[in-house]
């Protein structure tokens, strides 16, 4: 593969990390949804590029899934849910944005550090790509734990999963990638439906469990 190809790959992966930061930065629900759509699209581009590089047509399916499912369907669905549940005001995050961003930086640094010792034989491309993917994963995780709101946490989870897909596609010739992405889509569908069915506003952050435990005599 020519340097240009890998540079494009890097660009896409890097921009995915960038969008993750943007997601982390958002404090408006609808904006968050839109930027997640962007996140998905960038992923789709990157996957498609990999498919082209690796001459692996089946990866196009993954790219397509990413584009349609995560880029369109899910955001729309979430949009309706948000309206339905009337939580489109603001996203009260546990930690304020500033520290969160700093911590995110630290996470990126960490992922780079842990990837450094990976030998060159793996190919510089794999190394950097993995570092990007890991950062996306960690940033998604960070988003999950810093947001109180169910929907934004689902988004965090999905961005985490985007990172996984990025890594999977980055790994040359890795089998089962398509199946995995399908599986994840199902998983996310579960999540969204769950939120919708159980009217979960704050359920991630609920104290109800404690209440229930009390009623079951589980309190100390």
């Amino acid at each position: 593969m020519t340097p240009l190809d890998s540079d494009i790959a890097h660009l896409l992966a890097g921009s995915l990390v960038l969008v993750s930061f943007v997601l982390l930065y958002q404090d408006r629900m609808f904006a968050l949804l839109n930027f997640f759509a962007v996140h998905a699209c960038v992923l789709a581009l990157s996957v498609g590029w990999q498919a082209y590089l690796q001459r692996a047509p089946h990866l196009f399916i993954t790219a397509l899934i990413a584009l349609l499912f995560k880029g369109v369907i899910i955001p729309v669905a979430l949009h309706r849910i948000v309206v339905r549940l009337g939580i489109h005001r603001t996203i009260e995050s546990v930690v304020s944005i500033g520290p969160t961003m700093l911590f995110g930086m630290a996470l990126v640094a960490l992922s780079v550090v842990v990837m450094l010792p990976v030998t060159q034989s793996a190919g510089a491309f794999v190394r950097e790509d993995l570092a990007f993917a890991l950062s996306v994963v960690l940033l998604g995780f960070l988003m999950m734990v810093t947001r109180r709101n169910a929907v934004s946490q689902v988004i965090g989870f999905m961005s985490l999963e985007n990172g996984l897909v990025l890594a999977a596609t980055g790994a040359r010739g890795m089998p089962l990638v398509v199946e995995i992405s399908v599986g994840f889509s199902v998983l996310i569908a579960f999540l969204v439906v769950g939120i919708f069915l159980f009217r979960i506003r704050e359920r991630f952050d609920t104290v109800e469990l404690q209440a229930l435990d009390m009623s079951r005599g589980e309190s100390a």
């Binding site: 996470l107 960490l110 100390a220």
Partner: protein
């Protein structure tokens, strides 16, 4: 198994254990009707007698056909070896003898159990477990037997499960027993080494270099907690009385001996050559145990609890002997070591006899009156004459008074103390006399304790209607108790044979033995040298008989043999109400005042009626179990606090849990990142 095979005796013994286990299984069905349980107990008696005989054969002819046999069952990676060597054989004789007689007692007594199906199946299992411990020649089967023994006895303790106290007793017992077993597990782990040579033979060959001290501590904790060494005795006075009396007899009279065996096996046999200072912790703990045990017993008004506490004291005496033996062996004083060791194991034998006897007696009393509290007993000597005689014999024996057996072992211990100036080191030299004083003190206090026990239970006037309505127990129980009493006397007047029987053990453990005693003229025993000390129980006994008979004869010739019965004089203030008698509490009061103020922080305060006020004056006594309060309660508190603190983690929110996961991930990543 053929008589010629080199492991004939071991095969017999293993078969016996197997039979006992089979009995346990049978017991589940048999317990439904009283005849069934009677049969089970009878079978136990027979098997135990058989085992005792086998063990005796193995003991007296050490190298004849008592090789260990290897079984295909047991530890997957190890070998299971079962068999007798002199040490285990000697203890097996002691244990099975007592068990056999106790089982005989149970034939009559056992049918009174409220729920026999909770007792009968576990009783043979219990005995089987103890025998397994003795037969074991490798760490795994040793511990299996050990835990099995604890488990079966736990089930027996909790057999009267409806009372809250019994459940608590069982709980404390189970926990402490398991803790002890785990400690022994560590000890064996250290002895066996990383590639796990669990067979005793391998461990001996490895001879645990440098591991000695740790093993000593672990053995003291592990075996000591089972034996009831202070401060690990807490479970004992709870658990022993909670069980049915024949089981209490086994637990107190026999199981504690298995614990002693465990200690002897590990320290004298497996842990390699001792160094002199090992004896110091053993002696100190033993002395404290002896003194505190008897003091606790004196403060007790519950007959069975009193006996249980007194077991603690006797364990202390035994360990004093063991500690001395360690010191002597470490300094190469073979004969002295043999003397101390013989004294200790002799006392093991004696205690197994008279403590079982006393518990059986208390069982008979409990059965006849439904009372364990001495404050509600009294005057039983008139209604239960046979029990009274047997119990009296037990009391005299346990108070270490001639001509009974308790005195002989104590005498031997004193002799061992008197040769200890030969020790080169200063610390034991300073320590041993103090230990001797402790021993003497505890012996005297034991006498006081059993004057109280016998006097309050059997003498005086009945303190309750139950005691007034009591009646003698059944023939089985009577004969069992009389048999034990007879053995106590016999061992007291013919100690030579016992000492000779222990010779192979001392030969094996400390490589020396006492001079043969049973061949001495006039059946006397001479531990070291005739000019130094000698004791002739038989002769003393005969002399007392003659003297008493002569006196009685003469007095009868001179006296007017008329005898008149009249109300008690009592210095002219006779009072018909039994309440005016001395009670157990008032009997112990002087000693409580002398010793208890320190040990138990005992406080007495009298509440007098105010002038002009009509009310009775009251005497309040408060006793503290200092050890429980200073050692056990803090541990319990710590666990409680920890449990409360950690319990909060049960009620976090999902997001918090996610945060924890995230933190863990970051942490691990940083570790990996930091690692080069």
């Amino acid at each position: 198994m053929s008589l010629a095979s080199p492991s004939f005796l071991s095969q017999l013994a293993v078969t016996g254990v197997g039979l006992l286990l089979a009995l346990a299984a049978l017991g589940i069905l048999a317990a439904r009707r009283s005849l069934g349980s009677r049969l089970i107990y009878a079978a136990c008696m027979l098997i135990c007698s058989g085992l005792a005989v086998v063990a005796l054969a193995a003991l007296l002819a050490p190298h004849s056909r008592s090789e260990a046999i290897e079984l295909t069952v047991g530890l997957p990676l190890g070998r299971t070896l079962l068999g007798f060597d002199p040490l285990s054989a000697a203890f097996a004789v002691i244990i099975n003898l007592a068990s056999a007689i106790v089982s005989g007692y149970a034939i009559g007594y056992g049918v009174h159990a409220r729920e026999p199906q909770r007792v009968v199946p576990f009783y043979p299992a219990f005995i089987a477990g103890m025998n397994l411990v003795l037969l074991a020649q490798d760490a795994f089967s040793f511990l299996v037997g050990w835990e099995f023994m604890s488990l079966a006895s736990w089930a027996l303790v909790v057999s009267e499960h409806t009372s809250e106290d019994n459940r608590r007793a069982a709980l404390v017992y189970l926990i402490m027993a398991t803790g002890g077993a785990l400690t022994l597990l560590l000890a064996f782990g250290l002895l066996a080494g990383p590639e796990g040579g669990y067979a005793f033979a391998q461990i001996r060959r490895a001879a645990a270099s440098g591991a000695g001290p740790v093993v000593l501590i672990l053995a003291l904790v592990g075996a000591g907690s089972k034996a009831g060494l202070v401060p690990l005795h807490a479970w004992l006075p709870l658990a022993h009385p909670a069980a049915p009396s024949h089981v209490s007899a086994l637990m107190s009279g026999v199981m504690t001996k298995v614990a002693v065996y465990g200690f002897v096996r590990i320290i004298f046999d497996l842990a390699g050559p001792p160094s002199w200072w090992w004896s110091v912790p053993v002696l100190v703990v033993a002395g404290v145990t002896a003194l505190l045990g008897v003091l606790y017993a004196l403060m007790e008004h519950d007959l069975k609890r009193l006996l249980a506490y007194h077991t603690v004291e006797n364990i202390g005496i035994i360990f004093i002997g063991l500690g001395l033996a360690l010191a002597f062996e470490a300094n190469g004083l073979g004969v002295a070591a043999a003397l101390a060791l013989s004294a200790a194991i002799f006392h093991v034998f004696n205690h197994s006899l008279f403590k079982s006897l006393l518990f059986l007696g208390s069982g008979a009393v409990l059965n006849a009156t439904g009372e364990r509290d001495m404050e509600h007993l009294g005057g039983l000597i008139h209604r239960m004459p046979v029990t009274a005689v047997a119990f009296l014999a037990g009391c005299i024996a346990i108070s270490a008074l001639p001509p009974f057996n308790g005195f002989v072992s104590e005498w031997l211990t004193f002799q061992a103390i008197l040769v200890s100036p030969q020790l080169p080191q200063w610390i034991p030299r300073l320590l041993v006399p103090a230990i001797g004083a402790t021993l003497a003190c505890s012996a005297a206090l034991a006498a006081a304790c059993f004057v109280k026990a016998f006097g309050m239970t059997f003498l005086g006037r009945p303190r309750s209607d139950a005691a007034r309505a009591a009646s003698e127990t059944d023939r089985w129980s009577q004969s069992a108790m009389l048999a034990l009493a007879g053995l106590c006397l016999l061992a007291g007047i013919l100690p030579g044979f016992v000492i000779d029987g222990l010779a192979p053990v001392t030969q094996m453990l400390v490589g020396a033995r006492l001079a043969p005693q049973s061949t001495q003229p006039w059946l006397r025993i001479i531990p070291i040298d005739p000019a130094r000390s000698a004791y002739n129980g038989a002769l003393v006994f005969v002399m007392i008989l003659i003297a008493a008979a002569a006196t009685a004869f003469v007095v009868r010739r001179l006296a007017s043999n008329s005898l008149r019965r009249s109300p008690a004089w009592d210095c002219g203030f006779p009072d018909s109400s039994p309440a005016t008698q001395y009670t157990a509490g008032s009997f112990a009061q002087p000693i409580r005042r002398v010793f208890g103020s320190v040990v138990f922080r005992a406080r007495e305060h009298v509440v007098m009626a105010k002038p002009g006020e009509i009310s009775t004056a009251r005497l309040h006594v408060e006793l503290h179990d200092t050890i429980w309060e200073t050692l056990y309660l803090p541990i319990i508190r710590v666990v409680d606090v920890m449990a409360d603190r950690l319990n909060r983690l049960q009620f976090l929110t999902i997001r918090t849990y996610l945060t924890i996961v995230f933190a863990a991930l970051i942490l691990l990543l940083m570790i990996v990142g930091a690692w080069r």
